[in-house]
């Protein structure tokens, strides 16, 4: 505990030295304007997350605050070790923050629930003993969201949306990685959750499939305007997919900036390139040490 606290306060003072209070105030100011227009869908306030390994108490994020509004494509961007996946797991309800709180529609998040569906990076998130179709209907039926024919119809609707209706009765192991991720996205969307949580869902795909999946996700969003909280370590992906981008610094994760992305479909424009450079400069402003656990993000 002591170790984590000193580490946290040290980095906090570094932060204060590097970036004067002005941008932070600006951030808070923006949150206030959101509050005027309506309550944010997801309210993350001063969240510090610590977890224990065998030998250490690790502070993954330090006093992270942000708001996600209805219909946002909110991207959390940062290098590995900035606690972005940990943050997403806390929103998912798998971890409890040591400080601060996370509220969804005003309700405090204490445990996992079907109002926040996670889409993971790993391909084994599809249950291998069920067909694609059963995988999509499973959460609908098991949570009592829909029953019988209604559940089947909803599942088929979303499988058509991700263009996998032909594979409804295949088992997951017969699909390619990109198809598996599309099923996972369909399964998440079929639940029509308040917010879809995506933990680097395209990171394990090859570059060509990845680009196509990004385009498909955007066209799905054009259709249904779902709210998504998306974690990535790729700057181009953040600019392309996000409507708003939260930048985290590593060890522990702290908010560096919260900025608007370029308008939809302009991710090849000069503004996008400039934004990319800006983000790059912000992320690499201070020397980043090599993260001891490359997997932890």
């Amino acid at each position: 505990m002591a170790r984590g606290a000193t580490l946290a306060s040290k980095t906090a003072s570094d932060m204060a030295g590097l970036r004067p209070a002005a941008p932070a105030v600006a951030l808070r100011g923006r949150a206030a304007t959101d509050a005027e227009t309506g309550r944010p869908l997801l309210d993350v306030r001063g969240v510090t997350i610590q977890y224990k390994t065998q030998a250490h108490l690790i502070t993954a994020t330090y006093r992270v605050s942000f708001n996600v509004l209805q219909g946002d494509r909110f991207v959390v961007l940062g290098p590995s070790g900035c606690g972005k996946s940990t943050l997403l797991k806390a929103v998912g309800g798998y971890l409890t923050p040591t400080e601060g709180e996370i509220r969804l529609k005003g309700e405090r998040i204490v445990k996992p629930g079907p109002d926040r569906i996670m889409v993971f990076q790993e391909f084994d998130q599809l249950l291998p003993w069920m067909t694609v179709f059963e995988n999509v209907t499973f959460p609908l039926k098991t949570t009592g969201t829909l029953r019988g024919k209604a559940a089947d119809a909803r599942a088929m609707h979303y499988l058509e949306k991700v263009k996998l209706a032909d594979f409804a009765h295949s088992y997951p192991h017969t699909l390619s990685g990109g198809m598996k991720q599309r099923v996972a996205i369909a399964r998440g969307m079929a639940m029509e959750p308040d917010i879809l949580l995506m933990d680097e869902p395209f990171a394990a795909l090859d570059a060509l499939t990845r680009t196509r999946m990004q385009d498909e996700l955007l066209s799905l969003w054009d259709d249904t305007r779902f709210t998504v909280l998306f974690v990535t370590h790729s700057i181009p992906e953040a600019i392309k997919l996000g409507s708003r981008i939260l930048l985290l610094s590593p060890h522990p994760g702290q908010v560096k900036a919260e900025i608007n992305s370029v308008p939809r479909g302009q991710d090849n424009s000069n503004e996008a390139a400039a934004l990319g450079r800006e983000i790059h400069d912000m992320l690499f402003a201070d020397q980043i040490e090599e993260a001891p656990n490359a997997a932890g993000g």
């Binding site: 798998y94 996992p112 629930g113 079907p114 926040r116 959460p139 192991h173």
Partner: protein, 288 residues
């Protein structure tokens, strides 16, 4: 020498799939035959039987090793007059009772083990103590506790099945991926529903391996126990049949008894477990 800058860009026309003569070609008949698992296995059995026949004839001592043909004659005769089917049924009945009880107990123990730390420690300690203990060593005690009869046999069978199956089940449950667990919790599954809908199917390859081992252990224990005291409820099982035949120096009958056990084992492995495997773990792509 060609300079790097002088290399032109090259563009090619590719052929469509209809331009190719053969993309798929059927395998030859011999290759197709060799690809059948059951044919390869039968070939192995035929070679073994042939070796046995040749050795038996060369040895020419039916009291030590009767040839395969003599064993088959004894087997067919005793199957025809109903002795072996009756004995086998009697063994299988006891076996199924013991196997089912042991498996259910193992399931309960493992669910208890994964739901609490003390449960895990309990199962770890119990399996460490009792798994190496041969079930047959408990038979004298069982005979005192439960008397001559089916009770004692079931007791030793449960002992032989339970620890092996629960070890495999626990290993399977522990090996369920963190992602699958998180997916289950995302859908509000908890307690027994979580075990039934996520853990058991995800751990099914290990559970099935445990059941196979448990089945084999149960057979061994049962035959050994029957050899020791045999008769229960008026008629013995296969172990008793082997013991009787040996006493009467009907060695081909002894071999016929052993062969029956082997045949039942082969049938259960290749029909029952094979059926379960193709319907579950293979269809799910959890086993190749």
């Amino acid at each position: 020498m060609l300079q790097a800058a002088e290399r032109p860009n090259i563009y090619c026309e590719t052929l469509g799939p209809d331009q190719f003569g053969i993309i798929e070609k059927p395998l030859t008949l011999a290759e197709q035959i060799y690809n059948k698992v059951w044919l390869r296995k039968i070939a192995i059995l035929v070679v073994l039987a042939l070796g046995w026949e040749i050795y038996g004839r060369w040895l020419d001592n039916p009291l030590l090793v009767p040839p395969f043909s003599a064993t088959m004659r004894a087997l067919i005769a005793d199957v025809a007059n109903g002795t072996i089917p009756r004995r086998a049924l009697s063994s299988i009945e006891v076996l199924l009772i013991g196997f089912a009880t042991g498996t259910v107990l193992a399931g309960l123990l493992t669910v208890f083990a994964i739901s609490s730390r003390i449960g895990t420690d309990f199962l770890d300690t119990m399996t460490a103590m009792f798994n190496p203990l041969p079930a047959i060593a408990l038979l004298p005690l069982a005979l005192i506790w439960f008397g001559l009869g089916i009770g004692s046999l079931v007791f030793v069978l449960v002992h032989s099945v339970m620890w092996a199956v629960s070890l495999n089940m626990l290993a399977g449950f522990r090996g369920v991926s963190a992602t699958a667990r998180m997916v289950g919790r995302n859908y509000n599954l908890s307690g027994l529903r979580f075990v039934a809908r996520i853990l058991i199917p995800a751990a099914f390859p290990s559970i099935l391996a445990g059941l196979k081992i448990g089945w084999a252990f149960a057979w061994r224990t049962l035959i050994a126990a029957e050899l020791v005291f045999g008769v229960s409820s008026g008629q013995g099982g296969l172990g008793w049949y082997i013991f009787e035949s040996k006493n009467q120096l009907e060695i081909p009958d002894v071999f016929a008894g052993l062969l029956t056990i082997i045949l039942i084992g082969l049938a259960v492995e290749n029909v029952v477990f094979r059926f379960i495997e193709t319907r579950t773990v293979q269809r799910w792509g959890m086993q190749t």
